[in-house]
């Protein structure tokens, strides 16, 4: 079943079983929208320049890294996490607070805290079958509350500045872009070539059957969440380096932005289908569209409006294709 996820996500199906009369207009609408967007893109000055491509990749990087991790969680059938923003914030605070001991301490501390915090939630979901939305709203409150408690509501400033290395731009691209690519390649390898990765698809496809077949449902779920935690931590590290201080709102809307990127990549919200490469595509597509609208002088509001419509179109398109395959 998992091989079906190789298909390109953004192309609408043309003949699903049940809602047959809908798909024609839908495919037509999507084609028209793509053509319009293509025309807009080609006629936009400065779009096809190296500098602009760099800007697009850079703006996709931070959300993209978290989204790659969120892909594994969604594929494994745990749905979504609404605690990513808070986790990234607390990781950023740990990272900046440990700067005086150098990056060799700060990065492992940050990665470790992200992995532990997120893998614990994965354990509750995987072993006890808890509802991930309720759980992650709760952990979001807990992490946010404890963070404010210990930081006293004031920003965390670093005592030393070894982190500036992470703001370097080798070959003209921000380091975060390389990390995004590496994370996507690693996630793709994990999903395709390791036992745990293959089992994520099976667990996501049908949890009960996977459990009945003797698959280690809990362990697989924890591995997916642990990788997600590492990705959130990487985002947190780059957020901290970029902002040079960490406030309680540093994470912003990371949780929802990451979910949007995963969905635009065509990963199924119910699990069992999707890939990290598609999520990479989704993150870049969202960044590309925002960039075109920005260059064209559209407001933030128009960018968000188009992003929402894009997510909706892809969700509907992917759903129509999936149901056609399954029915």
């Amino acid at each position: 079943v998992a091989t079906a996820s190789r298909r390109s996500p953004a192309v609408a199906g043309d003949g699903p079983a049940s809602p047959g009369r809908l798909s024609g207009p839908f495919a037509l609408g999507l084609a028209v929208a793509l053509l319009l967007f293509g025309a807009l893109a080609v006629t936009t000055p400065r779009l096809l320049t190296f500098d602009n491509a760099r800007a697009i990749l850079a703006s996709a990087a931070l959300v993209g890294i978290t989204a790659v991790g969120a892909t594994l969680v969604m594929i494994a059938g745990s749905g979504v996490s609404l605690a990513a923003s808070q986790t990234a914030t607390v990781v950023a605070m740990f990272f900046l607070a440990t700067q005086q001991w150098g990056l060799w301490v700060a990065v492992p501390v940050a990665l470790g805290s992200g992995i532990v915090l997120t893998a614990l939630q994965g354990a509750v979901v995987g072993f006890w079958n808890a509802n991930p939305i309720v759980l992650t709203i709760g952990t979001g409150f807990a992490i946010g509350g404890v963070t404010t408690w210990f930081s006293g509501g004031t920003p965390v400033y670093p005592e030393a500045h070894p982190y500036v290395v992470l703001n370097s731009t080798p070959l003209g691209l921000p380091l975060a872009v390389y990390v995004l690519l590496a994370a996507a390649v690693f996630a793709q390898w994990l999903l395709r070539r390791t036992t745990a990765g293959r089992q994520m698809y099976l667990v996501g496809e049908n949890r009960g059957a996977a459990r009945a077949a003797g698959l280690p449902v809990g362990r697989v779920t924890v591995i997916a969440w642990a990788f997600f935690g590492a990705c959130i931590a990487l985002t947190g590290i780059f957020l901290a380096s970029f902002n040079t201080q960490a406030t309680a709102t540093l994470g912003g809307t990371l949780s929802l932005d990451a979910i949007a990127a995963v969905l635009v990549g065509g990963t199924l919200i119910t699990g069992g289908r999707g890939s990290a490469a598609q999520t990479l595509g989704g993150a870049v597509l969202i960044a590309l569209i925002s960039d075109v609208l920005l260059l064209r002088g559209f407001s933030t509001g128009a960018q968000m409006l188009v992003k929402g419509i894009l997510v909706l179109a892809v969700v509907v398109g992917v759903h129509l294709r999936t149901t056609r395959v399954l029915r």
């Binding site: 006890w128 960018q303 129509l320």
Partner: protein, 330 residues
């Protein structure tokens, strides 16, 4: 008899949370050193009014097994539309906001029902799009509401503790409770939430119910947004995620489950009052802000523990081991 009435978590959770919060509220003078005034109750009800319609909107979709994330988008859009169109006639502003909410909700409901898509990704997309639309309407800025008569009117005190805003919110809960309690709609929603295919087979017009449900959710959320903007005398294009999360907490404390099939408007009412009162207790006793967050986290942890099937199995197994020979049903 009370034990049997409280047997299910849909009654137990809201009853216990309301009781605990009420006791804490009554005891709060011990910490603050000041007597409770009617004004404290008024403030609690104002907090309830701010959250209530949103909690009703999201909670009622959760009863039917859906999760309408877009309510905050509708809330923001409703508030902005009411402010922009209701300067001369506040009622017209509310009407336009509510009409927009109904249209957005019905469209989403139609997509979800007709195509049988999970509601979470659809409503997430709508949420982003609606925020974008609200930004576009306002140019990304807060809009001031110039009709100060309406602002004064919605928050005036009635009988020392009420305001028109909290009375409208209470009326919406009462209406939902009466309609769901005395018609077959309530049972149908719970049936749709617990087993959609079975309720379809049993003759429930599932698609139409879902369209109506999301339209209702949109109407209520837009009304909440409009009333809030009138009260603040301004509309904010981005309320953030906090209202959504608080409304979900209120619904969960109200005994609704995210899996669907469980809950009632009166439970939602108890859950929302609990959340509002908790915030008021923290304000009265001048505890630091993060205390509220930690309290919500604790409450959600309890809900996770009650709800998660794995933990329940574990508890059953432990009980079975302690009392050998007794049959334990899972």
């Amino acid at each position: 008899m009370i034990r049997r009435w409280l047997a299910g978590p849909d009654r137990l959770v809201p009853a216990v949370s309301l009781l605990v919060v009420l006791i804490a509220f009554a005891c709060s003078p011990l910490v603050s050193g000041k007597r409770l005034e009617p004004f404290d109750v008024y403030n609690t009800l104002q907090g309830f009014a701010q959250l209530g319609l949103l909690a009703l909107a999201i909670g009622i979709t959760m009863i039917a097994g859906e999760f309408d994330l877009s309510v905050v988008g509708t809330y923001a859009l409703g508030g902005m539309l009411a402010v922009e169109t209701g300067a001369r006639s506040p009622l017209l502003g509310v009407a336009i906001a509510v009409a927009a909410g109904a249209a957005v909700g019905a469209t989403q409901g139609w997509l979800i029902a007709r195509l049988r898509i999970p509601s979470m990704p659809v409503t997430l997309a709508t949420y982003i799009a609606l925020l974008g639309l609200t930004y576009t309407l306002s140019g990304g800025l807060s809009k001031t509401y110039t009709n100060s008569d309406a602002t004064l009117w919605v928050d005036q005190t009635i009988g020392e503790i009420f305001s028109p805003r909290s009375l409208v919110t209470l009326a919406a809960f009462a209406l939902a409770a009466i309609v769901l309690g005395y018609t077959k709609l309530g049972r149908e929603l719970r049936a749709i939430g617990s087993d959609r295919r079975a309720s379809r087979v049993a003759g429930v017009n599932v698609d139409r119910r879902i369209v109506g449900l999301f339209a209702f959710s949109g109407i209520v959320a837009a009304l909440g947004g409009a009333l809030l903007s009138y009260s603040y005398a301004s509309a904010n294009p981005d309320p953030g995620l906090q209202p959504l999360i608080l409304a979900s907490v209120a619904a969960l404390l109200g005994g609704v489950s995210l899996a669907g099939g469980r809950g009632a408007p009166l439970g939602l009412l108890a859950g929302t009052v609990s959340v509002a009162m908790l915030a008021q207790i923290v304000a009265i006793t001048a505890m630091p802000d993060y205390t509220t967050q930690l309290l919500y986290a604790t409450l959600l942890a309890i809900i996770v523990a009650i709800e998660s099937p794995g933990l329940r199995d574990l508890a059953d197994r432990l009980r079975a081991r302690r009392a050998p020979g007794r049959h334990v049903t899972p």
